[in-house]
Structures are given as C-alpha cells and as structure tokens.
Symmetry: C2
C-alpha cells in the first residue's frame, strides 16, 4: 500500500518569513473507522488563503528552490505569534478515492468521499469516516470537493435566521459560489433574500438563477434599492463576508429606515426592531465602520462555521449533511475558474491569480 | 388645588429650527392610582440632552423672547422626521412632593416620591404611582431625583452579565455618577470591574471609592494596563457610553490578547472566547470603528435601559427598585455640580455649561 504523501505546508518564521513548500510525509495505516484517501480535488476557499499566506506581503513573493517565500510585515507579526515555526498543512476540504481503510470500512475501498478537516492540499489524507460524506457511485471528485464549507455555511445562515427569530436575510457579496447556493436554498424554502452584488454582470448572474431581490452596490440607486428590497422581504438579519468598511453599517441603517416607517411616534432611541449583522469573512481586513443611525436595538458580531457547528444540535447538522449529499450537483454545485496541480499552487503567476479573491473566481486543486 | 404647570418643551420645525420654551399647561385632577407631584429636582442626563437639543448646532443658539432657538443642520433633518412639529416635554426622571392624589392614594399627600417617565422638567407632574418610588420620611428631593436611569442602568449591567454568563465587566468612561454606582455595586457583590477613565484625577476619584482596577486611557501604558486588568478580572463583557471611535474595539482586542494566552495552538479564527461589547450611549456620535483583531467570536450591540426593562423578569426589576430605594443615599447617591431653575435651563450661558457632557459634571434642575 502506497502511504507516501506530499503535503502543502505553510510556515512563518520568527524573523518574519512566510514559507510554502511541499512536505513529503508517510502516513500510518488506517485504523478502525479510518480511511486513507487519494485526494483528487480541493477548492481554494478564502479561509484557506488566510492560513496559506497569512498577512504576507504578496509583492515580496519569491521562488526559493521547491518553495515560495514572502515577507510578513513587522506590524502583523504579533498576531502570528502562536504559529511561529510550525509547519501547518493547508486545505479545509476536498474529495478523493478511498485507497485503504480500517477493517470495518474495507467495503469503501474504491469509493469516492467528500472530506472536511484540513490538510487536503496533499496527495493522500488519512481521515475518520465521521468527517466524510460518502459520494454516490460514479460521482466526480470535483462535485464532492466543496461539500462542507460553503454548503454548511449557507445552511447555517438559514438555521441562524430561524434560531434567532428573523424571517429574511441580506447577503453581501452575494454572487460567490456560497451566495449562489444561498439563492437556491432560499428559493427552495420560500425565504426572502436580499442579494447585494458589486456589478451589473453579477445582477444578471443571480437573476439568471431566479433571485428576486438583487441590488448592485455600484449603482447610484443602491441606497434606495437596498431599502426597498429590505422593505419587501422584512429582512432584519445580514451576513457580510467583506467585514471591513461600511457594508454592515449601510445594511443596518437601511433596516432601521424601513422599521421607522411603522413607528407611530418619535423615539430618540430608534426603533425597537432588533437589527442583527454578522460578519462571516474578512475580504476587506480593514476596520468595520458602524455609523450608528440605527438606534439602540442592534447587534453586530462574528459568525464562523466552526463555532456554529459546535453549538448546533447534532441532529440538525446531520440533516444538513444529508441534504448536501443529496443535492450536491444541484443546490450545492460549485463552479471553478481553473484547475491546478499541487505544484502549480506554488507557481507565483498562478498564486497571483487564485489569491485575487474576486467574486465568482474559484480555483480547484487537483493533486 | 393648583394644577397650573409650566413644562419645558422641545420642538423641531420642518424648516430646521429647534425651539425650547416653557409651555403653560393645566393638568387634570389625579384619578385612582395617580399622584399630582410638585417637581423639586430633576437631573440633566445625557439621554435628556438628546431629546432637548437633538442634533442642533449649539453655536447657533439664540434667545427669542422667552424661548431659545438653534439651527438643525440639513444633513441631520431626515432622522428628525418623526418629531417635526411636535412639542415634546423633556426630563426622564425627578423627585418631588405629592400635592394631590387619587382617593386611594390620599395618604401620600405631603410625602416625597422619585418618578420616572418623562416630562419632569416642569412645575407639576401627574404620574401613576407604579412609576414612582415612595421616599422615606424626611428624604431630600435631590436624593430621590436620579433613582431610575443611572441606578437601574448600573444594576442592568450586572444583570446582563449574569444573564449572558460573563463574570466581570469593563466600563468606560467609568468616573461618571453611573460609573461610581457600578463601582459600589461590584464591590458589594464581589464582581470584577475594570474602570476605564480619562485622567489621573479620575483614577484618584475611583481609587478613593475603593475601586481595584482603574486604568487611564490618557496614560502611555493604557494598552498594557487594560490587558492586565482584564487578565486579573477575566472580563469578557464591556459597556461603553462613548460609542464613537475605538474604545469598544480596543477593549475587545485586549480581551482577545488575554484569551490568546490560554490557547494551546494557533487558530487563524482567533480564540473561541465570546467577547461582548455593548454601546449604551453616544457621547461621541461619530462612527464606531472596530479593528477586528479579535477573531470571530465577538459581538457588539446597543444596550438601552428601556429595552432591558421590557425584556427583564418583572420580579427582578421590582427587586432592583427596592434595592435602589433602600440604598439611595449610599450605593446610588448622585453628586451635582450645580442646581439651576427651569428658567436658567433656557439661559444660553447655563446651557453651554450643562451640555458639555464632561464626566463628573452633572446639573440638577430644581423647578
């Protein structure tokens, strides 16, 4: 049995150098409940880029033999303290073919699984079956590569909406693979969704999926459009992957303007309607700026899939996973801009492309 | 029975003029459960100033006969829409002597009560007994003037801490009357409290009350001092009356730095410790700026006494009111910089003084 792997690793040294390289490793034999999987496809999610490149200055990217290096600015080093010197494997999720298994799972050899749990940018991955979804016979690896992060996040938004007694959602930026899944989920379930996108092309994309409320933040009429879409849906909950800047603030102010329409008298503390904004990403790592024109009944907070899954009812999470497996080529289908090998993931020109974080561009690593 | 009152009123006209004047009114006779009270003392709280002056340009303050006027900037008018043309009485709370009462409460005539419910900057106030606290025989009106807003807010912070499973509190700015009450409450109950103040004098003031953790935001060592005080108390909850700027962000980042000390490995999403910041005032009406160096387990939101009281268990609120009445000259004592009459409240020189919002300065209106 071939148990020799190559893993993409990211290391930051004490003197401020980020190093990416392929580390040869030899994996143990799978024990009970474990699978040894040949990784065939793993997406490059924004959350992966955070671990891969950290706060490195991408202009300083240099090829050094088989590795890539880049400088980490001094000001960013304190936050990196806990990872200094550690060779960290990368890649949250992926899919591949089972090449060996614990005795109890021997019947799965040859089958494809979707996997979640890190270290996916590798030739091989040893993993517990409980961190996998068994794919149907004949499924493509690419179809199973991204069945965790985006699908469970989108379903997590809807579950959060229900848990916190909201009835509709505002999402920005909404044209991403995740955003498209959310459009389809909300359509299926009849949930009001306000999609904030950044260009007319993205408006067309989401309208093509059947989205009802798509507002373009690049349009002059954005503020009015957003307010009317919020009025139509009754959304009092938003999810924002941008993080920095004023998007969440803009959304909460629009929600308050809508709530004010139903107020019978003046209240200097604003409406009593709770307006909740969650920041679930940091595409813009700059400060979140809140212009508090939305009274005192508001909350803004971080939303993270891992925290959500830890707190959620296990039966709910299991139901989500089963739904994702059932609808992997429909509701939860992802689209990729390009496929690259592990070696290409260390090619500076390719790195420049997949780190751009453009909405709608998505890379798939096929080790 | 004298039922002729004078009420301080605030009006904003459609063309952007704020007008403050004294309105002669004649009150009805008190019915069952009601008291007619001669107002003898009412504090000027920041929340009162919000209603009195709104967003008016204080440099444009002009005396017009018996009234004061000021311009409201155009940009601030949309948010004022709901109050245009309304003559709004001012003054959240106060104390005075019962001059008449419904038949069921006739025994209270001549007694002093503390009151809550607006329209307190007036000669007389007709009020339900359920909105009053009966003061002990011989109590001064000044002692009962501020038994609602600050005391219930301070107790509300502690209740919120318990409800949301935190164990200590950070408060800024902490030298206010409210801050001093919070120091005494936390001492009584053995609760860790980090007091953020803005000058060495304020450090001395709170240390004089026996406060353990007082950090001065004007000191070079502020960041370190704050972090160590948070480490000592284990505070993961903060209340910030400043609102604008970076105070809440600074506190959450310090909490995260403390949480990071107990992390065993690197987590690019930050610690799992929930860091909660509440904004309960807007001394700085500028944007709240959040530098998200505190991972994904964080929440910032508005905190308002009225909303807290609406949601709280009535028995809890009743217990709070009884405690405030018992401890009105100790834990819940307020201190005033100056006493002014209703007429003086419309004197531009006096207005300039009481609208300064300096921590530790507090005015009492004695109609």
């Amino acid at each position: 049995m071939d148990r020799d792997s190559l893993e993409l690793r990211s290391t930051i040294t004490a003197d401020g150098l980020l190093r990416l390289h392929l580390e040869p490793t030899r994996l143990p034999e799978p024990g009970p409940g474990q699978l040894l999987v040949r990784v065939e496809a793993a997406p490059v999610n924004p959350s992966d880029l955070g671990l891969m490149f950290g706060p490195a200055d991408m202009d300083s990217l240099t090829v050094e033999g088989q590795a890539l290096t880049a400088r980490v600015p001094d000001r960013a080093m304190p936050a990196m303290r806990a990872r200094i010197g550690q060779s960290l494997p990368v890649g949250n999720e992926g899919a591949g073919t089972v090449v060996a298994a614990g005795a109890d799972l021997a019947h799965l050899v040859g089958r494809r699984v979707a996997m979640f749990g890190g270290a996916m940018y590798a030739r091989l991955r040893l993993i517990a079956m409980t961190d996998c979804i068994l794919l149907p016979e004949g499924a493509e690896a690419a179809d199973g590569a991204a069945l965790f992060v985006n699908p469970l996040t989108a379903l997590g938004f809807v579950q959060t909406m229900r848990d916190e007694a909201h009835s509709a959602i505002v999402h920005a930026p909404a044209a991403s693979n995740l955003g498209q899944m959310l459009v389809r989920i909300c359509q299926d379930e009849g949930i009001g969704l306000v999609n904030i996108v950044r260009s007319p092309d993205q408006v067309a994309l989401l309208r093509g999926l059947g989205a009802t409320h798509v507002v373009d933040s690049s349009a002059d009429s954005f503020a009015d459009d957003l307010r009317e879409a919020i009025a139509d849906t009754g959304a009092t909950l938003s999810f924002d992957a941008i993080g920095g800047g004023e998007m969440t603030s803009t959304v909460l102010n629009a929600m308050e303007a809508v709530a004010a329409r139903s107020m019978t008298g003046y209240d200097r503390y604003g409406s009593a309607v709770l307006k909740q904004g969650y920041v679930y990403g940091g595409l813009d790592t700059g400060p979140t700026v809140l212009r508090r024109g939305f009274g005192f009944s508001w909350a803004v907070g971080g939303w993270l899939l891992f925290h959500f899954l830890q707190r959620a009812d296990p039966a709910t999470v299991q139901a989500m996973r089963e739904r994702v497996a059932r609808q992997m080529t429909t509701t939860f289908a992802s689209h990729y801009t390009a496929r690259i090998t592990l070696a290409q993931a260390l090619d500076p020109a390719v790195v420049a492309a997949y780190t751009r974080k453009s909405t709608g561009e998505k890379y798939l690593i096929t080790p």
